[in-house]
């Protein structure tokens, strides 16, 4: 006799109670699970696929869970400064040193090295192929007013680019210099569209090169050296931070096992990162 519609009305009331209980359990569930290690890294590092490949080894070995947040360098350091992550892995040496000096991080370790490359259209109108050094290539591009696409987002790549422009003693002009504020992948695509020059980390280049008509025109200058460091967030600033987890990750990445994993990682047949923690 109680038709369905009456039952539905009752259910709505029960559903409310059930859900309050659910919310309570949900919000508390974090206590029961193992505490994750939060790693902030840069988009170019993450996009290379290295972490995706090697982190599981660490997780299996130690039983930890790593949550990787991939954002711009500035944002990654900010996250560490605010205590929202436990450890940062970035590639901006000057910024890193200031950061540690300011007391935000401890135990900075060198992890690996790769390099930046300069890309451009196949016909290379600026004629940078075979140039002697990176600074000269940028000078040629600037003089010829050839379109150059920049990250413009304060990332490690962008910081390197800015450092190089400083050395050219030339100021890029808006007529040919495009500051995009975008990630490396997008920037490569835009450079592709515009037949423009750009500077990129080798990893993203290797991932995308088959889809682009851009060519690698300059590499090898020690100026384009790209070192990565890992830094633990200063535990005295935030008592609740997973410092032990952070140190455990740093230990593994700089251990023989971790360094070997880094060395083994290949993109498109090429070795991408060169371990630098242990001098041999």
């Amino acid at each position: 006799m109680m038709s369905i519609n009456i039952v539905i009305r009752f259910d709505k009331f029960l559903v409310k109670k059930y859900l309050l209980w659910f919310l309570f359990c949900y919000l508390n569930s974090g206590i029961i699970q193992a505490e994750p290690i939060r790693l902030a890294t840069t988009t170019s590092t993450d996009n290379s696929g290295l972490l995706r490949e090697i982190i599981p080894h660490f997780e299996q070995k130690t039983g930890n869970v790593v949550h990787v947040l991939s954002v711009g360098t500035g944002h990654a350091l900010r996250l560490g400064q605010d205590g929202n992550v436990d450890v940062v892995l970035v590639h901006a040496p000057n910024a890193e040193m200031h950061w540690v000096e300011a007391g935000y991080g401890v135990n900075r370790r060198s992890v690996m090295v790769n390099d930046f490359v300069i890309l451009g259209p196949e016909n290379d109108p600026a004629g940078i192929r075979g140039e002697r050094n990176a600074v000269k290539t940028l000078q040629k591009i600037a003089r010829g007013k050839h379109i150059f696409v920049s990250r413009g987002d304060d990332s490690g790549t962008h910081k390197k680019e800015m450092a190089l422009w400083k050395k050219t003693r030339m100021k890029p002009s808006v007529t040919w210099y495009r500051e995009t504020g975008q990630g490396m992948g997008r920037v490569l695509q835009m450079a592709d569209e515009l037949n423009a020059y750009t500077i990129s980390d080798r990893g993203t280049w290797l991932v995308l090169r088959s889809k682009l008509s851009l060519k690698l025109l300059f590499e090898g200058d020690p100026e384009l050296h790209n070192p990565y460091s890992i830094i633990a967030v200063n535990p005295s600033r935030y008592p609740g931070i997973n410092y032990m987890g952070a140190m455990s990750l740093i230990a593994w990445l700089t251990s023989v096992d971790g360094q070997n994993q880094i060395r083994k990682f290949k993109l498109d047949g090429q070795s991408l990162f060169f371990p630098s923690a242990i001098l041999d």
Partner: protein, 221 residues
């Protein structure tokens, strides 16, 4: 001889600036029927709704078995015994059966008792044939009967009917009249508002007219 069930005293209500009810007194007797007439919009519906506890008066007192209480204090217990029926009753989106059973949920009856009660009520009103039909799809006259039954099944002491015979054909009016007679003999106190005094000949015990915010006694049988 007759003890009033309830007495409402000094009901005052103003609406958007104008005073609709100024000191209305009304006594309700079991098994008696009061007819309320008056111009459209004079406040008959509001008066009924105040009595039913659906509208809040500016001022009112309720007398139960000789004891007077303010409206706020007494309305809760009084409300349970009074049911108000709209001029055009609204059906819930369910079957006739379900509509009739609506109020029973809050009576302390078990499933079997509820079932029996509903069956009895449906028979009383002659609705057994349409019990399983969607109430909204039925004609106005049948819906009216469903509304009556919905109220009757709860055996209220007071039933307030707002223009119960308006827009009805002759047959429906006949059926409604019969239902009202039965309700009266079951001891219910009825208050009916209507323009059509002739329809209620034979059952009305007191006739009041609401005029200028007060009740005028028109006739008494």
């Amino acid at each position: 001889m007759n003890e009033p069930l309830l007495v409402f005293r000094e009901i005052e209500k103003s609406f958007s600036g104008s005073q609709i009810l100024c000191g209305v007194d009304l006594s309700l007797y079991p098994g008696k029927c009061i007819l309320l007439s008056g111009k459209n919009g004079v406040g008959k519906t509001i008066l009924l709704k105040i009595i039913a506890g659906l509208e809040i008066p500016d001022l009112a007192k309720i007398e139960i078995s000789g004891k007077t209480n303010s409206w706020e204090k007494a309305v809760r217990s009084v409300r349970k015994e009074i049911i108000y029926l709209h001029q055009h009753p609204i059906m819930f989106s369910s079957t006739v059966e379900s509509n009739v059973a609506y109020g029973l949920r809050f009576a302390s009856l078990n499933r079997k008792q509820r079932r029996e009660s509903v069956d009895e009520a449906l028979e009383w009103a002659g609705l057994t044939d349409v019990a399983k039909k969607q109430a909204k799809t039925l004609s106005g006259g049948v819906q009216q009967r469903v509304a009556f039954t919905r109220a009757w099944i709860l055996k209220p002491k007071v039933l307030l009917l707002d223009e119960p015979m308006a827009n009805m054909d002759h047959e429906s009016r006949e059926q409604t009249y019969q239902l009202l007679v039965r309700m009266k003999s079951a001891g219910m106190s009825l208050v009916i508002t209507s323009h059509f005094m002739q329809y209620f000949e034979g059952i009305v015990d007191q006739h009041f007219q609401l005029k200028n915010g007060a009740l005028e006694l028109k006739s008494k049988s």
